[in-house]
Symmetry: C2
Subunit: 230 residues, 2 copies
DNA sequence: GGTCGTCAAGAGCAGTGCTCTCGTTTTTTG
DNA sequence: CAAAAAACGAGAGCACTGCTCTTGACGACC
């Protein structure tokens, strides 16, 4: 098909990519609020209205950036998990945690788009949920694998019955794992992103300097909460 | 001296308060990005430029709202801690955690101002740090009290030496507490705000319904991490 | 070759933060 | 008490934003 038809489509794809690239660079320097269609157009030597041929609104451009960011983060976590020996669960956990933190610190504004305060008026469309699940899916698989391998401290005390029904939406992320362990995983997960939020959003400025070292200790505590044998 | 001079100053204080009130209401409905000086002026029946007599810039208005929010949150946590028996540390911990979560859920946009992605270009001035420390100070006092009362599981294993120097900026928040316990406290603290971030920013939508119940379980796990005897 | 769809450009609308000026009113000073 | 000074609200205006609509040109298809 058709060099001729593709002639147009190719330049269109190229321009679309150029727009997102410039937008991403602008996002990195100005933040989500400072992302301006007009500025992107200016940098491309276009007039502002022309951008709307490629992205019908500012939100659509934002959505594209969000999906890209989710995929970038997810890929980083997947890779960090993949390079570890599959049965070394503490190491897999630490590796995944560091991947999240490293990516977030390297791309603070993009991270803010994913896990920061939602942009007012912006509603994430369905397209994002697939890419959005990649990082948490890694964590779920990790817990599932560890449980199956008998590497997780077994449940101790009874759970309150109200918790059972609440686990429904999470169970398929870590199949086979008992609820008690599941909630321990959620706890570690919130601790991970809680830290990263604090760090990326500047809450540790002038307080904690060597954040990587402290982070590592935090995630070791989280691993203990999960019950991953060391 | 006061009557005559205060005539003007009183109406000025009144108007200032009215501006922040309207701004806060606008913040609650539109979010930080939707806070518009012109809209505030319109609602007051003033012309937009008149607002600048009271707040030299939009950021200054934002700062006022941030300080108010920090104080509101801090006060809520302080009160929640104060109503508990002083030697019932697990209960004090849970009470403080619920206070943070309740306030955040009730005032999501104001919470986002405090703990969400920073507003681009906005730099929090020094005025905020005092109000900002109120909530975390409660937590620090709680840990300090619990340690002094012997209600915290003592340190087990040795800490890595790099961690020692990093604790400097936090020690005065919980005087007398050994570093191991201090870091456990930080871990629980990040778990708390990590959860609240996720909940307020909508990460649990369509996933966890009865968030209060799960939150309570999470904070119990965090208490176990701290080592508060149950 | 003619038709149709795609495209960039430009003007324009409503909104924003912010600045400056201009009378008016209130407070302070002489 | 009157004059000088400070504070104030109103208005116009600047540069910017997202977005819409129209116009004219170019390339692709029948």
């Amino acid at each position: 098909m058709t060099a001729s038809r593709t002639a147009r489509e190719r330049v269109r794809a190229e321009l679309t990519r150029e727009i997102t690239d410039i937008a991403r660079r602008q996002l990195a320097t100005e933040g989500a609020g400072g992302l301006s269609l007009r500025a992107v157009a200016r940098e491309m030597g276009m007039v502002s209205s022309a951008i709307y041929r490629y992205f019908p609104s500012r939100d659509d451009l934002l959505t594209a950036l969000i999906i890209d960011a989710y995929n970038a983060l997810g890929e980083a976590v997947e890779r960090a998990d993949a390079v570890c020996p599959q049965d070394d669960f503490p190491r897999r956990w630490m590796s995944a945690c560091h991947a999240v933190r490293d990516w977030a610190v390297a791309h603070p504004h993009e991270y803010a788009l994913l896990y920061g305060s939602p942009v007012p008026g912006y509603q994430a469309p369905q397209d994002t949920i697939e890419a959005r699940m990649r990082d948490v899916a890694v964590m779920g698989r990790l817990l599932s694998d560890a449980w199956r391998a008998g590497a997780i401290r077994p449940p101790a005390d009874e759970l309150s019955p109200e918790l059972e029904s609440e686990a429904a939406g999470i169970r398929d992320l870590m199949p086979g794992v008992p609820d008690d362990v599941l909630w321990r995983g959620v706890s570690a997960w919130t601790a991970l992103y809680g830290w990263v939020n604090f760090e990326v959003f500047g809450q540790f400025n002038n307080t904690i300097e060597d954040r990587r070292t402290v982070f590592e200790h935090m995630m070791r505590l989280a691993a203990a909460t999960i019950g991953i044998a060391r």
